[in-house]
């Protein structure tokens, strides 16, 4: 309220600040819960967490109360709101680490790395000795991933129906969250159901872990990061610390489940009719994980005995196929794992889970689109006039959606390559640098080379870690919002003028081809706009690429 007093009671219209405020308040609640854990545990860190909660809550509420969301909701605004909100919570998330002294003030960049890695569900850590960290802080650390998994803004929309900021645009842009597939007519209800489902899964995994013999703290902390496909563990040795097949099984099932689309889960649970193409994506997703596990089994057969081989192949195919990043043994050790098996893992880093899941990567659906696209070009090289709709399962993907998915994949690969070059130029070796960049943008966590699952992100040169932070944000928000956050923020203010300009087709010289495309284009975009987002009935026919 002090903010309001300072500003003389006047409220500014700024959706990004408004949304960031809500997100900060939610994080503060998480910090408060962690404070309770710290108090019960008695291992310290409570004061730091309480202090962070206080600061975050007050800053957040000032931001929330001193602004209003603008009445209109469009893409630029949604981009800006999502990207800035994520940046804000990432910065807020550094406080517990810094105040509790887990990470020194001289290494504030490391704290930011840990926080971004948490909220983006990456799971790369710079804590060298996790076992020594207070449980309250570790709980908060796992909780950041839990928040990041389903998305803070989805949560905000679900708990604050009054937040009239065009929830669907926001949710669609807070990437791995559900993409424009609503289960109910009201978006707030959809968001609420998603979080209910998410909470239920968390509970199930926690109960499963308890049944498998872990402590309550470990069960909850690991359930948070399993369901979020994040990968933070409360032990330096990650899942290997339990040394229990039962725990591994629970975690494997949890990871595979949450790497699959939440809307499919919803439809399966409520037995409502789902989109058919989702099932085709599900088949691909399970096929990829199964195929990767089989490939790992074959490629490592000479190096590991059968029991270990099956265990590691299944675990890593699930862990990296869903881009979670839990570790079991050190796969970077050439004594145990062959180079080609590690290359299989690298391919999994890139692909990731399904759309509408909590996983990272380019997503299986886009891989499908890419594969279909490539195949179609091969056919088109032979039959140049063939009209070939792009089919996935039993549905057809509209051209502009395919184009957006392609643009995304190309941008993603380009960013990963550029990130890799930067990482190596800043002092990492080729293997560590490139795999680190791929791992960061895929929000996986462990990489290859020196930065394997049993090592930490300290293996990356300090100067190169900011590159990873940027890549993690790019990866979690699916590139476009982060890429356009500045552009969008600037343009959001002058939106109407730009829209009027862009509505006019930018064609200077009209050739025959041009004329055809002008006739064709508006029709195409209109249709997809209707189908992709607003009409649940026709969305069975078109897959939304991003």
């Amino acid at each position: 309220m002090s903010g309001l007093a300072v500003l003389g009671g006047r409220r500014f219209e700024s959706t990004p600040v408004h949304i960031s405020g809500v997100a900060l308040v939610l994080v503060a609640i998480g910090m408060a819960v962690s404070t309770c854990v710290a108090l019960i545990d008695g291992g310290g860190g409570a004061l730091a967490l309480a202090g962070s909660a206080g600061i975050t809550a007050s800053v957040g509420s000032v931001m929330y109360l001193s602004t209003t969301a603008s009445g209109r909701a469009d893409s630029p605004l949604a981009f800006a709101a999502v990207a800035w909100a994520w940046l804000a919570v990432s910065i807020a998330g550094t406080m517990p680490y810094l105040f509790s002294g887990v990470i020194g003030w001289s290494e504030a960049d490391n704290a930011l790395f840990e926080s971004i890695s948490g909220f983006t569900c990456t799971g790369a850590t710079i804590l060298a000795d996790i076992d020594a960290v207070a449980h309250g802080i570790l709980f908060f650390r796992s909780m950041t991933q839990w928040f990041g998994g389903m998305g803070l803004i989805v949560l905000a929309v679900s708990v604050l129906p009054a937040l009239k900021v065009g929830g669907l645009e926001l949710i669609a842009n807070e990437a791995p969250g559900p993409t424009a597939d609503r289960f109910t007519p009201r978006i707030a209800a959809t968001a609420r159901r998603l979080w209910m489902l998410y909470g239920a899964f968390t509970l199930a995994v926690a109960l499963g872990l308890l049944a498998a013999g872990t402590s309550l703290f470990d069960a909850v902390a690991h359930a948070f990061t399993t369901v979020a496909t994040g990968g933070f563990s409360t032990y330096s040795r990650s899942i290997a610390a339990f040394d229990s097949v039962a725990v591994e099984l629970v975690v494997i099932v949890g990871m595979i489940t949450c790497g699959a689309s939440f809307s499919i889960h919803w439809h399966l649970i409520t037995r409502t009719k789902s989109q058919r193409r989702s099932y085709s994506e599900l088949r691909w997703y399970l096929g990829l994980i199964g195929g990767a596990a089989a490939a790992l089994l074959i490629l490592n057969s000479g190096k590991l005995d059968l029991g270990d081989n099956v265990r590691e192949a299944a675990f890593y195919a699930a862990s990296l196929g869903s881009n979670t990043g839990y570790g079991l043994t050190d796969y970077t050790h050439s004594q145990f794992w062959t180079p080609s098996a590690q290359l299989v893992l690298l391919a999994l880093f890139v692909i990731g889970g399904m759309t509408g899941s909590t996983a990272g990567g380019i997503k299986v659906l886009r891989l499908q689109i890419v594969a279909r696209y490539a195949v179609r070009e091969v056919i088109r090289a032979r039959h140049r006039r063939a009209v070939l709709p792009m089919r996935l399962g039993d549905t057809t993907v509209a051209e502009d959606i395919a184009a957006r998915a392609l643009g995304f994949v190309l941008l993603y690969l380009g960013l990963a390559l550029a990130g890799g070059v930067l990482m190596t130029a800043l002092g990492n070796d080729l293997e560590t640098g490139f795999s680190g960049a791929v791992s960061a943008i895929g929000t996986v966590g462990p990489a290859l080379g020196e930065a394997g699952p049993t090592s930490s992100a300290l293996a990356f040169e300090r100067g190169s870690r900011p590159v990873m932070m940027v890549l993690m944000l790019f990866g979690r928000l699916e590139v476009f919002p982060t890429m356009l956050m500045f552009v969008a923020a600037v343009r959001a203010g002058t939106r109407s003028r730009h829209v009027r300009q862009s509505a006019r087709p930018r064609v200077r010289r009209t050739t025959r081809l041009d004329r055809q495309s002008i006739r064709a284009a508006p029709q195409e975009t209109d249709r997809s706009g209707v189908r992709g987002i607003n009409s649940p009935k026709s969305s069975t026919r078109s897959a939304r690429g991003s």
Binding site: S340, V378, R404, T424, L430, T511, L513
Partner: protein
């Protein structure tokens, strides 16, 4: 594009006409000879390629007899003469004999053109492999090695298991000639075959948009003659340059053949670094860079005496910019044991420029080993390998113009994310890029990416490290050759310089490398189309047979 009458008169004369005439005469002879009972254009293509190898073998045999000792490290004359002659005679008899049994088909479908391309390249690979086996430079049992060596020769990739010092003069000449002829054949493919497929040929993708890959004459034979002539002239120019820079005459001839074709084979173990001469390296830098420039662009700029044509080309500008930026980066990135005074010295800059040009033009010559460069620059060079030279040049790789197109495509998608109903045509300069062109280019990149993943896994399984496998897959697909190496278990690669990768893999890896080279040279889409043509019966069986899954009624759209 119609030349003015005065020009046309001038064009009628000269070498080009001679080339065209020779081609026509050979064509006539072939038609008269091939009048057998079996009607198969495909067989004829493969056999003609084999038959054409015979005179090359003979020429190399003669070369070995006359000059072999002056080129080979052993200093012996005539070591390869008899095997090469025998191989030549055997191949010629085999090919001509079978040709007599074949007959041309009346009509050739597009599908057959493509299969002919694949069969022809495999025939060329077979011919070179036979030479390797006959002269004993490859163990008779190591068929995979012979295949990989031959593929490297035909596609112009500097990747080999045999040190130049172990070869006789005849084989050295054959490898250089093979790379040059492979380049010449590529020009034919570029003009004749690829445009029919709509992938990577003249006038198909980058061509219309950038004016750097377009036809020079209404008839394809005319375009072909002009380009071949330019290619030959470039080779002679580079040879003269090498000779003036102080390279022995025969060596400069052989190196010019592999420079202009951006092949990269050298007679020396240490590649061009063996000569240790700044002048030679400068000539090579020029030659390689020219090999990466679009031939039609170069031809028009020379013929019209209009150097500004280069500057007007978007693709050329980006090509040169890439070279300059990468050179600056490679020069400035810190290296172990190299101080600032040394960095700013001319030698260091030349070394960086050499490495950059060698990689982006996909030649693969080395003045120093790539592994000696800083790690950041190795990563950068790997990206340059992926990019490759200009379209319609002798270089391999993805091609600069496609990169340019994709960049503007991504830009449009970003704008469309903000303005969902944006309608915008992509353009390079004054010309627009059609949507189908973008589709082809994207398809090519995606196919290459989808190919690289399994290929590097196979290479990793056949004896390479992760870094080695990935970079070697990229390097062979782009027809470069040298790759980076990690320092641990395959450390010998780092010491050997980076041409030893092919040596380090087993037979499976060698076959994979050979196939990657061929895919890269033909363009991945063409290779995939070839595969789909070959797999056509199986696909048709699935599609029309009982395995087909029925689609539920009423779901199909359009």
């Amino acid at each position: 594009m119609t030349p003015r009458p005065a020009r046309r008169a001038r064009e009628r004369e000269g070498l080009r006409r001679l080339v065209v005439r020779a081609v026509r005469a050979a064509d006539g002879l072939l038609h008269r000879w091939a009048r057998g009972p079996y009607e198969s254009t495909l067989a004829i293509t493969a056999l003609v390629v084999l038959a054409a190898a015979a005179p090359v073998f003979a020429a190399c045999a003669v070369f070995d007899w006359l000059f072999g000792g002056r080129v080979a490290a052993s200093g012996e004359f005539g070591t390869d003469t008899v095997p090469l002659l025998l191989a030549g005679v055997a191949v010629a008899l085999f090919a001509l004999g079978l040709l007599r049994l074949c007959r041309f088909e009346r009509r050739i479908t597009e599908r057959q053109t493509l299969t002919a391309l694949v069969l022809g390249s495999f025939a060329a690979v077979a011919a070179i492999a036979i030479a390797h086996l006959a002269t004993g430079s490859v163990e008779p049992s190591a068929l995979a090695t012979a295949f990989a060596e031959a593929a490297a020769t035909v596609t112009g990739t500097n990747s080999t298991t045999i040190a130049g010092s172990d070869l006789g003069g005849g084989m050295l000449a054959l490898r250089a000639m093979g790379q040059w002829l492979g380049g010449a054949a590529f020009i034919v493919v570029l003009v004749r075959v690829l445009p029919h497929l709509g992938v990577g040929g003249l006038d198909t993708d980058g061509g219309v948009a950038t004016r750097s890959a377009r036809r020079l004459a209404p008839r394809s034979a005319g375009t072909m003659g002009r380009l071949l002539l330019l290619y030959g002239a470039l080779t002679v120019l580079v040879a003269v340059g090498f000779a003036l820079a102080g390279m022995p005459l025969l060596q400069s001839g052989l190196h010019a053949l592999t420079t202009a074709s951006t092949g990269g084979f050298s007679t020396q173990v240490d590649s061009l670094g063996a000569f240790d001469s700044a002048a030679i390296e400068w000539v090579a830098i020029f030659g390689m860079a020219a090999g990466g420039v679009s031939l039609p662009l170069m031809f028009l700029a020379i013929r019209r005496r209009d150097p500004a044509r280069f500057i007007r080309s978007y693709e050329f500008r980006l090509y040169i910019t890439l070279i300059l930026l990468a050179t600056v980066a490679v020069t400035l990135l810190p290296r172990d044991g190299v101080g600032w005074t040394h960095i700013l010295g001319g030698e260091h800059i030349r070394e960086s420029l050499f490495a950059v040009v060698s990689v982006i033009s996909t030649t693969g010559f080395q003045s120093t080993s790539l592994v000696e460069l800083s790690i950041g620059s190795q990563a950068l060079l790997m990206v340059l390998m992926l990019i490759g030279g200009m379209s319609a040049s002798m270089a391999g790789g993805f091609k600069v113009v496609r990169l340019l197109t994709l960049a503007s495509f991504i830009g449009r998608e970003l704008r469309r994310a903000i303005y969902p109903s944006l309608t915008e045509r992509l353009r390079l300069g004054r010309s627009t890029i059609s949507e189908s062109t973008i589709g082809r280019i994207t398809g090519e990149l995606l196919l290459a990416a989808l190919l690289l993943i399994p290929a590097s896994i196979v290479l990793g399984a056949s004896g390479l490290n992760i870094v080695d496998a990935l970079t070697y897959a990229v390097s062979t697909l782009s027809n470069v050759g040298p790759a980076m190496a990690a320092a641990d278990s395959t450390g010998h690669l780092a010491v050997e310089g980076s041409t030893g990768h092919l040596d380090a893999v087993n037979w499976l890896g060698r076959i994979t490398a050979g196939l990657l080279m061929l895919c890269g040279r033909m363009s991945v889409t063409a290779a995939a189309v070839a595969l789909s043509v070959a797999a056509y019966p199986a696909v048709a069986a699935v599609r029309h047979g009982q395995w087909r899954r029925r689609r539920p009624h009423g779901v199909r759209v359009r």
